[in-house]
Amino acid sequence: MLEVNNIEVVYMSVIQVLRGVSLEVGDGKIVALLGANGAGKTTTLKAISGMLKTEEGEVTVGTINFDGKRLDRYGPEAIAGMGISQAMEGRRVLEHLTVEENLLVGAYCRKDRAGVKEDLEVVFDYFPKVKHLRRRVSGYLSGGEQQMLVIGRALMARPKLMLLDEPSLGLAPLMVQDIYEIIKRINADQKMAILLVEQNARAALGIADYGYVMENGRVALGGPADKLRDNEDVREFYLGLSAVGSKKSYRDVKHYHRRKRWLA
């Protein structure tokens, strides 16, 4: 449903951040996008959602296709209308609005009032905590509650594809587990495709069907999630499991080079 073909992104006409990124998200699939800080994960999401255009960024090369439409030609409002909703990095709640108002903002462009009411209940069902806080001013929620609210707001648009940027950022391990279980449930219940950007590779690969690893503005690696979990580089650099003792051969040399490349 979503195809990103070899895109390059330049900020302010000079700063090149993406140098050829290709990826694909199939119907109803969860795809994880991993990579070190500054690799260009958020930029990739912004290119898809059109948010780049609000930050003086531009897709200079390549195409982004979504259900047969060239996304790179549209602005963020139009793209949201096509059924893509983004939960941006850093828990962007509308602080002075109540929890319920935040959720309603997510459903702003929908015309079916009854459906919106239903989905409000659906979100409350996924996040019972949010339901208790519905009349609260959202700026005072805890970090985890805010993250739930932001995911809930993205859900309220009833999108076909949800872009999630680091939903586990700054959350306690138990909370991360909770949120990931819910993401998995959402994907299963609503047949909603999810493109998930994460630092927490273990959590992300745990629920994803497919994964990509980004490095310096390129996709360095891509494959089914279970394969990636077993991949040595990923194990070492993202899962913190080093393969000491296993297979010592020329591959170590290669590995060393790769490591330099990873860290460059």
């Binding site: 609000t54 602005g75 409002e77 949201a80 941006m88 962007r92 002075h96 903002v105 702003y108």
Partner: protein
């Protein structure tokens, strides 16, 4: 005592009008993050429109008000489309410069159309005077009070209970979030500028009935600015309370202090003195939005 109450009541009416104009200021500040230097010039245009519809056209006051609002709506849409939209995403300073340009253009237009002369329509307002015990409320204060209270109430309801109101409040907090859910920022801007123009024009019509209309009426924008600072720059409720405080203070000062001084300009600067004193003690104004900070 009666003299004092009289001053308070007329001051209340004046203050509500200040509050009305100040709300226009706050709305632009909230959604575009820019001080709208031209807010006072909307007031000026409103005064001249009031004159035009009431005197040469000889229309009744309600028809004049409706027509003036219609003109204000068109004015707001034009301003957003021609002057503001090209600047979205540009530095905030550019926006402020644009509002300065807008102020100059509006002043030029006023001079061109109405010759910049002193016009008054005090004479054509209905002459009913409301008696409350010993106090009598003059017609321009009564009209001012009713119209501004109704307008402010309608605006508050708009922000609180309508979809576009929700979009406006959301835009004031995070433009990107609003765009990411598909809300058209241009619609929100257009509505904000229309509201700013409408409240300015209504305020101008009301004030023009009291003091007459001339180019310096635009300086009311400065007073609205004082109201906004006093109330807390991004608080609409604060603007209302501060507007009333300044209106009443100004009127009471005019009643008691001006006779003491030949020339009597004290009433005009008195509100600013109050503003300075308050800001020394409360730099965010009386009701500045609480910055939500969790630790």
């Amino acid at each position: 005592m009666n003299f004092f109450l009289q001053l308070v009541v007329t001051g209340l009416a004046l203050g509500m009008v200040y509050a009305l104009v100040a709300i226009g200021f706050v709305i632009i500040l909230k959604c575009s993050n820019a001080f709208n230097i031209a807010q006072g010039h909307f007031v000026l245009i409103g005064g001249y429109l009031g004159y035009t519809f009431l005197v040469p056209f000889g229309l009744p006051i309600w028809a004049s008000l409706i027509l003036a609002i219609a003109v204000a709506v068109v004015m707001g849409l034009l301003i957003e489309r021609l002057a503001i939209r090209p600047l979205v995403g540009q530095p905030e300073l550019a926006m402020i410069m644009m509002t300065i340009a807008l102020a100059t253009v509006l002043e030029g237009l006023a001079t061109l159309i109405w010759g910049g002369e002193y016009k008054t329509y005090h004479g054509v307002l209905p002459t009913v005077t409301l008696k409350l015990g010993q106090i009598s409320i003059p017609p321009e204060s009564l009209i001012g009070l009713i119209v501004s209270v109704v307008t402010v109430a309608l605006l508050m309801a708009l922000f609180r209970y309508t979809k576009i109101g929700l979009a406006m409040r959301a835009t004031a907090e995070d433009l990107q979030v609003v765009q990411s859910v598909g809300i058209k920022a241009t619609t929100v801007y257009a509505v904000s500028w229309v509201i700013a123009c409408v409240v300015g024009v209504i305020g101008g019509m009301l004030l023009g009935g009291v003091s007459g209309v001339m180019i310096p009426l635009a300086e009311i924008g400065l007073k609205a600015f004082a109201v906004v600072l006093l109330g807390g720059v991004n608080s609409i409720g604060g603007a209302i309370v501060a507007g009333i405080i300044l209106g009443v203070l100004e009127n009471v000062a005019a009643g008691y202090l001006d006779p003491l001084l030949p020339g009597g300009g004290l009433a005009q600067i008195f509100p600013f003195i109050v503003m300075i004193i308050v800001l020394i003690f409360r730099p965010y104004g009386l009701f500045g939005l609480v910055r939500i900070e969790r630790i």
